[in-house]
């Protein structure tokens, strides 16, 4: 079976791949944000309050793209 035939067998909406990407990206981003926060709090526990706020704003920005990416399901046919 040649490559063209295999590709022709794939059917469905290509936008589905995008929803997967919209989940992977923010997952990696939040992982880095949280991991670095743990690192920072481990180094300086007295800064936990400040670092929590920075972590929260980092998570907010990262997840915003995830929400918009997944919500494109509403407009992509």
């Amino acid at each position: 079976m040649d490559a063209t035939t295999v590709l022709a067998e794939i059917n469905g909406n290509i936008a589905t791949v995008g929803y997967g990407l919209a989940a992977i990206g923010p997952a990696i981003g939040v992982g880095i944000v949280v991991g670095k926060t743990i690192e920072g709090v481990a180094r300086q526990p007295e800064l936990a309050g400040r670092l929590q706020v920075l972590m929260w704003i980092g998570i907010a920005f990262t997840e915003a793209l995830a929400f918009i990416g997944i919500a494109t399901y509403f407009i992509f046919v």
Partner: protein, 159 residues
């Protein structure tokens, strides 16, 4: 391992007031975005547009607010010995649960005949951006003492 801080110290992190303020201002701005997107949705798509705009804005603001709410909830366990584990369990578990619920809602609502998907998407994007603006403004105006989580022991007194 010995703890340098005195036992009676309140270990609640100093981030609580900032997060509470962000939630409160987020609610205020959500009301404004709800009214504006509702009016625009009604003008462009009738009653369907109005309902879609309200649902889209509510989804955006509620789901963006869950992060701050989960941190506030987790900070209640600040004096626990397993605080770090509980904190990240609640915050990240809440994050995961939030996205599962969001994806299920999106799948369920997409084919609802009483909704206008385009208006819903646009109002959701507007709600997300508005929520980010509030978060940034609150953080930019917040004042968190640099080392306020430390409680110095009392000075020794002569008995």
């Amino acid at each position: 391992m010995t703890d340098a801080r005195p036992e009676s110290a309140d270990r609640t992190p100093t981030s609580n007031p900032v997060l509470r303020r962000a939630l409160a201002w987020g609610g205020v701005l959500a009301a404004v975005v709800l009214v504006v997107s509702g009016i625009l949705g009604f003008v462009f798509a009738g009653t369907e547009g109005l309902v879609s705009a309200l649902i889209g804005t509510l989804m955006a603001v509620v789901f963006m607010g869950i992060t701050a709410a989960s941190i506030l909830l987790a900070n209640r366990f600040a004096s626990s010995d397993v605080f770090v584990g509980v904190f990240f369990g609640i915050v990240l578990g809440g994050w995961l649960l939030k996205f599962i619920v969001f994806i299920v809602l999106v799948v369920v609502l997409r084919d609802a005949p009483w909704l206008n998907p385009t208006v819903l998407f646009l109002s959701l994007v507007a709600g997300v951006i508005a929520s980010l603006v509030v978060d940034v403004l609150v953080v930019a105006k917040s004042r968190i003492p640099y080392v306020s989580d430390v409680r110095l022991p009392k000075a020794p007194t002569d008995d």
